[in-house]
Symmetry: C2
Subunit: 554 residues, 2 copies
C-alpha cells in the first residue's frame, strides 16, 4: 500500500450519527488522519431520554455527555456553521461567542445534522407549539407543564382552568407516544401538591393523522399501546390532524375546536436550513445518498443518520426501502461510514450499508412499554424494563451510565420532583396567533408588552370614565396597541379582541421601553401618538420608566 | 383563653427565613390560622449550594425542593408581588403567567424577601457582572465559564485568550470565597478536555476591599484560607475595590486595568425594589425591626432573614449588634417569629429574639474548608467534611438529602461533567459598557445586533473599496449603528471604536428585524436612513430578512 497524504475528515453534527461516526473513525484510522467534529453545543444529547428529562424522571446531566469526553483524540469544536463551500472544500464557522469567523478545510465532509422542525405548514403551530428535540425543549416543556398546574390551581375561571388542564401531543410516533406517557406520569405524580385540581379535570390528548399510533410496530402492539393509554386516561384521537393553533386552542382537520394551552408537536420534520442551502439532492426531506452513504453526485460528501435518505434495497414489487431515522440505524451507519471513508482514503472500494433491524421499542410511561425484538412481541412491564436496559446499554460513557442507573433507582424509591427550574423570561419578541373572536387582553390585565398587528384585525375598546363614552378603535395590519406600557402603567385600561384571524408581534414591555427611550425616532413618534390617541396630558417621561416593568396600582 | 377569630398570616418569600417561618407556624398553630406563602418560584433554593451547582458538583434538582412538598398544609402561591397596601391589609399579586391580578388579604404580614443586588454604585458592573443568588444565576455562571474555555481553546489572539482565561470574583465573603474555590475546581477538572489551554494560562482573582477575606472568621482562619487559595493558584487581592467594568476588563480602585471576560460580583446588596417601595424604616439596606422582629412603627408587619435588621444587644461600649444575614440565624429567627405571631394572636406578649452563633464555616473547594465551631478552629479536609455534613443536615426533605448525598458520592468516584446545558440566546436587549479606545466590533465580525448609543461617543470607519476612500463618522448619544443587520448581511463592513467611555443598548438582530419589519414608522425611517448613510442602491426588503439572522458569505 502506498503512503497517502494525511487526510482531513470533518463531521458536522454531534448526535448519534455524527458522534459515533467520529468515534469509529478515530479508532480505525485516527492515527493516519485528522478527525474533527463541529456541533452547536458541546455535548451529545441522548435524545430518546428527552421525554424523561421533561418529566423529571432523570436529571439533565444524566441525559447528556460532553463530546470532548466521548471523543478522545477527535478535535471537537462548539460552533455555528455559517457556510459550506464545496469548491474550496471549506466550512466557515463562528465558534462560541466569537465574532470572527474561522475557516475549516476538509478532504471528506460528513453531514450528520439530523432534521429540523418544519411546522410552517400548520398555521400558528410554530408560534405556539412546544417541541422535544433538544435539551432546552425538554426543560421548556417541563416548566410549561408545571406552570399550567400552578396556574390551574389558582384560577377562578372554569373555562381557563379547562384549557390549562388540557395537554395535547400531536403525532403518535415514538416521540409523541413517549412524551404523552411521560407527561401523564409527571402530572399524576404532581397532582397531590395541587389540592384544587381534581384528577378528573386533567385531559391528555394524543392526536395522530394515521389510523393507529406507533405504526412502526405491529398492529397488535399498537392496539396494546392505545388500550393502555386509554386506561391511563390519555385520549387517543386517530385520523385527526391539526389545521391551526393559537395560544389557547387548536382546530383539528375534522373541524373540532379544542381549548388547550399546551401543544407538543412531534410532527413536521424537514432538512435543516444549512442542508437546504447546500443545493444537494433532497427527497422526502432528506439528503439522497447512494448505498455507500455518499451524497449523490459528489466524491467526498457523505451523509448519514436522520439527515440522510440511505437506500437499503428494492423489493421484488419495485418498492424502495430506506434506512429508518432511528438511533439503532444511525449507530450502524456510523460504523459502515467509518469503514467506507477509510477505504476511499486508502484507495479501496467502499461497501454498501446493510443492516436488519433487531427490533423496536417504545416506553408508554407508568413503567409500561411495548417491544418487538427478534420477532418476539412484548408488552407491559417486561417491555418497559427491556427498553430501559437497551437504552442504558446505548448511553455513552461509563460515568453517565452509572448516574442514569442510580437516578432511575432513586426515582423508583423516592418519587420525583415538581420543581420548575427556570422562570419564563418574557423578554424579546414573539409572534402570537389569535382566532376571530379571541380576547387578546382586557382592562385590568397586567401590561406585559407592546403589540404590532402583522396580519388580521383587532378591536380596542377603552371604557369611558364618568361622563365619557366608550372609545372603540379598529386596528389592522401594521397598526399597534398596548402602547401604554410606555407610560409605566402596570395594568391595561382597554380591552382588545380579534375581529378576524390575527397574528401579532409582541415585544416585551421592558425591552420595548428601553428601545423607545433610546431611539429618538420612536420617542418622538410615540410621544405624539400617545398624546393624540389617548388625549392624555401626561408627558412621556421615559427616563422614569426605562428598565422598570412593574408599576404600582394606587 | 378567649376564642380568637381565625387569623390570616401571609409570608412573602420562600428562602430559609420565609420557608422555615411558614413551616414552623403551620406546625404550631396551622389548625387555628391560615398560613400562606408567596414566592416568585415554586421551589426553595438551597442557596449555600449554588456555587456547587455552578461548578457541577451537584445537579440542579439536588439544590432545590418544591415548596409545596416542604410545606404541607400551607397555601403556596407562585406569584409576582405587585403592590402591598398596608391600610387595606392587602397584597396584590400576579400568579404565574396569569394576567389578571389577585388580591390576598392578611392579618399578619411576614417579610422574608431577602436582599436584592444593588450594583448601581459600580459603573458597568450591573451590565457585565454575573451574580450567584438564584438558580438561574448558577446555571448562567456555569455556562459562562465553559463558554470561555471553549472559546479560549480555539482563539488565535493571545490578548483575547488572556482575557478569556482570567476569572474574577469580587468580594471575599462566604459567597465570594466559595464561588472562587468551586470555579477553580470546575476549571481544573475541565482542562484535560481542552488540549490547547495550559493550566498556567488560567488566572483566578479574588478581589476584596477589606484587609482580609472571610472577615467573619478569626484572622488565623482567614490566613489559612488565603494561603490555601494562593497555593491553588487563586490570586487574592486585598484592599482593592472595583471602579468600573466593561465586557472585557475591570478597573480597580487602585487604577489597575485587568483584562477579564468573567466577573462574578458577590457584593452590593440592598433592599428589594418592593421593600424600597413600602416606605418602611430602612438602615444598612435592611428593614429595621424591634428585638421581637416586628417592623418598627407597625403592629402586624414582621421581617426576618436577610431582609431584616434585627437588634441582638448593645454591648457595654454602646456598640449595636445585629443578627447576621446567614442561614443559621434565619432558621432560628423563623422559630422565634412563629412563636411571637402565635403569642400576639393569642393575646400574649411576644419575646425577644436571642441566639448565639454556634459557629461559621466556609468551603474552599478542592475538598478543603475552614470552620470555627463552639470556639474550636478547624481547617483543611476535616473542616470541609464538617461543612458538607452540616449543610446536608439543613437540606430540607428526606428525598433531597438522599439525592444530594448520593450525587456527592458519585461525584467523588466518577468525576464531574463539563457539559454546557444552555446556549446563550442573544435575543432581547442588553446594555453594554465600553471604555475609551475599546473596539465595539470590526469589519468581518458577525453582525449580532443593532446598537443605540445611550451615553458617550463612538467612531465608525467603513473601509473604502477600490478607489473609494475610507468613510468615518462619529456617533454620539441617541445615535445608532450596526443598522446593516436589517439588510440581512451576515458580517460587519465597518469597524466601531469608543472615542470616550460609552454605554450602548444592543438589540438582538432577529428581534430588531422583526420589530422594524412590523412597525411602519421604523420601516420608513430605516429605509431612508440606510439609503442616505450608505448610499446603497439596495432596497430594504424586510420580508426577505425577517426572522433570519445568518446570511451567507458568498
Amino acid at each position: 500500500m502506498a503512503a497517502v497524504p494525511r487526510q482531513r475528515v470533518l463531521v458536522l453534527g454531534g448526535g448519534f450519527a455524527g458522534m459515533f461516526a467520529a468515534r469509529e473513525m478515530q479508532r480505525r484510522f485516527g492515527n493516519r488522519a485528522d478527525i474533527e467534529l463541529i456541533n452547536e453545543v458541546n455535548y451529545f444529547v441522548f435524545q430518546p431520554l428527552l421525554p424523561e428529562v421533561a418529566a423529571g424522571a432523570i436529571s439533565t446531566r444524566d441525559a447528556v455527555s460532553p463530546l470532548r469526553q466521548l471523543l478522545p483524540g477527535v478535535k471537537v469544536r462548539q460552533a455555528r456553521i455559517f457556510d459550506i463551500d464545496q469548491n474550496r472544500q471549506v466550512v466557515t464557522i463562528f465558534q462560541g461567542v466569537q465574532r470572527r469567523f474561522t475557516e475549516v478545510t476538509y478532504d471528506h465532509l460528513v453531514i450528520a445534522l439530523g432534521q429540523a422542525e418544519d411546522l410552517s405548514r400548520f398555521p400558528g403551530l410554530k408560534a405556539h407549539a412546544l417541541t422535544i428535540k433538544s435539551l432546552s425543549d425538554a426543560h421548556r416543556l417541563r416548566n410549561h407543564v408545571i406552570d399550567k398546574l400552578e396556574h390551574a390551581d389558582i384560577t377562578a375561571i372554569p373555562e381557563v382552568k379547562r384549557e390549562l388542564l388540557t395537554f395535547t401531543v400531536i403525532g403518535g410516533g415514538f416521540s409523541g407516544v413517549e412524551t404523552a406517557g411521560e407527561m401523564r406520569d409527571l402530572i399524576t405524580k404532581s397532582l397531590k401538591y395541587y389540592p384544587r385540581i381534581e384528577p378528573s379535570e386533567v385531559r391528555i390528548l394524543l392526536i395522530e393523522f394515521a389510523d393507529r399510533i406507533l405504526s412502526e410496530l405491529s398492529p397488535s402492539l399498537s392496539g396494546y399501546a392505545q388500550q393502555f393509554f386509554e386506561r391511563q386516561g390519555i385520549e387517543v384521537m386517530l385520523g385527526t390532524g391539526v389545521a391551526e393553533a393559537t395560544g389557547t386552542q387548536i382546530l383539528t382537520t375534522g373541524g373540532e375546536v379544542i381549548g388547550t394551552r399546551t401543544v407538543v408537536a412531534t410532527i413536521g420534520n424537514g432538512p435543516s436550513e444549512l442542508v437546504r442551502s447546500m443545493e444537494l439532492p433532497i427527497a422526502h426531506g432528506r439528503i439522497r445518498t447512494d448505498r455507500k452513504m455518499r451524497v449523490q453526485g459528489t466524491a467526498n460528501l457523505w451523509a448519514l443518520g436522520d439527515a440522510a435518505l440511505i437506500p437499503l434495497r428494492v423489493d421484488p414489487s419495485e418498492r424502495h426501502h430506506w434506512a429508518p431515522p432511528t438511533a439503532q440505524f444511525a449507530v450502524r451507519e456510523a460504523r459502515r461510514l467509518a469503514q467506507n471513508i477509510e477505504a476511499v482514503i486508502e484507495g479501496r472500494n467502499p461497501a454498501d450499508f446493510t443492516y436488519k433491524s433487531k427490533g423496536t421499542m417504545a416506553s408508554l410511561g407508568a413503567h409500561r412499554g411495548v417491544a418487538e425484538v427478534f420477532g418476539f412481541r412484548l408488552s407491559g412491564r417486561k417491555a418497559w424494563l427491556l427498553w430501559r436496559l437497551y437504552y442504558l446499554s446505548f448511553v455513552p460513557g461509563f460515568t453517565t451510565k452509572v448516574r442514569v442507573a442510580t437516578n432511575w433507582a432513586l426515582d423508583a424509591i423516592l418519587g420525583r420532583s415538581i420543581v420548575q427550574t427556570a422562570a419564563q423570561t418574557g423578554s424579546a419578541t414573539r409572534y402570537v396567533r389569535y382566532r376571530k373572536g379571541d380576547r387578546v387582553f382586557e382592562a385590568g390585565n397586567r401590561a406585559d408588552g407592546f403589540y404590532i398587528v402583522i396580519e388580521g384585525k383587532v378591536e380596542l375598546t377603552i371604557p369611558g370614565i364618568g361622563e365619557k363614552e366608550n372609545v372603540t378603535r379598529t386596528i389592522g395590519a401594521k397598526g399597534h396597541f398596548g402602547d401604554r406600557v410606555l407610560l409605566g402603567e402596570g395594568l391595561r385600561t382597554g380591552t382588545v379582541r380579534a375581529l378576524e384571524d390575527t397574528v401579532v408581534l409582541v415585544v416585551g414591555a421592558a425591552d420595548f421601553q428601553r428601545i423607545v427611550a433610546a431611539l429618538p425616532v420612536l420617542e418622538e413618534y410615540f410621544g405624539t401618538y400617545i398624546a393624540s390617541a389617548y388625549g392624555t396630558a401626561k408627558n412621556l417621561d421615559l427616563a422614569a420608566v426605562g428598565g422598570t416593568t412593574v408599576g404600582r396600582l394606587s
